[in-house]
């Protein structure tokens, strides 16, 4: 009895596998892009790919969204992608240093600003409040780009709020998160009062669990997103990269909180 059930289950599993293999073979000649993108670029890349596909019909891109550092490591370990889009130059430099691509292949695709987010129930309404003793501040760890940018912004802001500002804010830090999304989550949930994230992280937020305090441009810091077509990529990858840097893509970038 059990044996028969086992055969039926494994048989149908095999059937499904074969079936899905067949449907993949039956897709049109143009194949989907295989994109390695920084976690913060996932949504905008999906939208850019959808827009590109209106003129160039093909299946929706397969996105591998993760930390830029680990994507770079995957590429070094032999993973195959058409395009790599990184949230910082450091991760891209790993791929250049490994001689997989050259500096000339690397292009800037967008920038994003850092912004202070605060829970509406907290007392934080201005940048100075980050330095008030007792404020619970969450930042990204300095091992990830968002954490490094946050520290640069804090250092810049000492010119506005006094030399001790950055130290005072850092003394209020209760957690250094592994990624910028975790920073946002802790502020949204109210466990932390305030944090520093990318403008792109909050552009599409629809809830009122968050209030934003912009950092004035002259003290702010711009995160630079860079991309490159990788060796062995589909020829059309270059057209895609040109498209996301072009005029038609500007509005999409902006709606996701980036500057194109």
């Amino acid at each position: 009895m059990h044996r028969r059930r086992f055969i039926i289950i494994s048989g149908s599993m095999l059937g499904f596998t074969l079936l899905s293999a067949c449907t993949q073979v039956a897709t049109p000649a143009a194949t989907a892009f295989n994109l390695a993108v920084a976690a913060s670029l996932k949504d905008v890349m999906q939208a850019l790919d959808a827009s590109f596909r209106q003129q160039n019909p093909r299946p929706a891109a397969i996105l591998q969204a993760a930390g830029s550092g680990s994507l770079a490591q995957q590429i070094l370990d032999g993973a195959r992608f058409d395009v790599f889009a990184s949230a910082d130059r450091t991760s891209m430099a790993k791929v250049v240093d490994a001689k997989i691509i050259t500096d000339a292949d690397v292009v800037t695709i967008a920038t994003a600003d850092m912004i202070v987010v605060a829970n509406p129930k907290s007392a934080v309404t201005a940048l100075t409040a980050l330095a008030t003793p007792g404020t619970k501040v969450v930042l990204a760890d300095s091992t990830v780009p968002a954490g490094r940018y946050a520290q640069i912004a804090l250092a810049n802001l000492t010119a506005l709020h006094g030399v001790e500002y950055a130290n005072q804010v850092n003394a209020n830090v209760v957690s250094l998160e592994t990624n910028v999304r975790a920073v946002l989550q802790k502020v949204q949930s109210g466990e932390a009062d305030a944090g520093i994230v990318y403008t792109a992280d909050i552009a599409k937020l629809s809830d009122n669990n968050i209030q934003t305090i912009p950092i004035p441009d002259q003290y702010g810091v711009q995160a630079e997103y860079v991309a490159a077509v990788l060796p062995g990529a589909q020829t059309e990858s270059h057209a895609f990269l040109a498209f996301i840097r072009g005029n038609d893509a500007q509005a999409i970038w902006q709606s996701f909180g980036f500057r194109a």
Binding site: K136, S175, L176, E177, T178, K186, E191, A192
Partner: protein, 254 residues
């Protein structure tokens, strides 16, 4: 004999899958990397946090888990025991973290009360202890419950007939007989607590010297400085091996 050969062959792929990645970890690290990682303040802090929190957590598990194991064995609810006890163990760790936040978080059920007393549990070492206890206790309870249930009722009755008091019964009969199971449970729970990651990340955050455990330090270094991450992994792996060897020793000597 023929079957023996077949099983040798079909057993190998899984054996390799389980063992080879661990050997790979060792091969990627050099002694200098290991030494550098050992000397780093980051690792020392992470080891201290992990050791302190997981030892307190394991004490909570023993003190709170043993009575629960006894109670579950006696209670008619025990039909549901496996469900009750195994559920936290099979939950994705992130779910465990969210669940703890709904109770102990600032906006959780107990949040307002705790805040009134000026306490906040998230972002403190106490949150790490709670997370570890939550995920590790089921392993201990399961093992302890099985060990206690395995004791022959005849043995207990014989001891009672011989005039053993309730204390003596526990002290000289039940606990010694259940000891291998209890010890195995402690070791498994401790190993689980040492490696706790998801619930801690969500519930306790990641502050060096406060809440950043070895598992969190490994994750945060994995992208950035994989030599340190691998060295840290080896340290965690070695402590797990030591714990498992203790379990094995306990199980074979009794």
């Amino acid at each position: 004999m023929k079957h023996r050969h077949l099983i040798d062959i079909v057993a190998i792929p899984m054996l390799l899958l389980l063992i080879v990645p661990l050997i790979g970890l060792g091969s990627r690290s050099s002694l200098t990397d290991l030494w550098q990682a050992l000397a780093s303040q980051e690792l020392q802090q992470a080891v201290t946090v992990t050791a302190q929190t997981s030892i307190i957590a394991i004490l909570c598990v023993i003190i709170g888990g043993t009575p629960l194991a006894v109670w579950l064995n006696r209670n008619p609810l025990s039909r549901w025991r496996t469900l009750l006890v195994d559920l936290p163990a099979v939950l994705p760790p992130a779910v465990a973290g969210l669940a703890l936040l709904t109770i102990f978080g600032r906006t959780g059920w107990l949040g307002p009360t705790l805040t009134a007393f000026g306490w906040q549990i998230p972002f403190t070492p106490l949150a790490v202890v709670l997370a570890q206890t939550f995920v590790a206790a089921p392993l201990y309870i399961r093992s302890a419950s099985a060990a206690l249930q395995g004791i022959e009722p005849d043995v207990l009755n014989a001891a009672r007939v011989d005039g053993a008091s309730r204390y003596e019964l526990w002290r000289y009969v039940i606990v010694p007989l259940a000891m291998p199971g209890l010890q195995a449970g402690v070791a498994m729970a401790l190993a689980r607590a040492l490696g706790e990651f998801g619930a801690t990340a969500l519930f306790a955050g990641s502050m060096p010297g406060q809440t950043r455990t070895l598992a969190l330090a490994i994750y945060i270094n994995a992208d950035y400085d994989s030599a340190t991450a691998i060295a840290m992994s080896l340290i965690l792996l070695m402590s797990a091996v030591v714990l498992l060897l203790i379990v094995k020793r306990v199980n074979t000597t009794t």
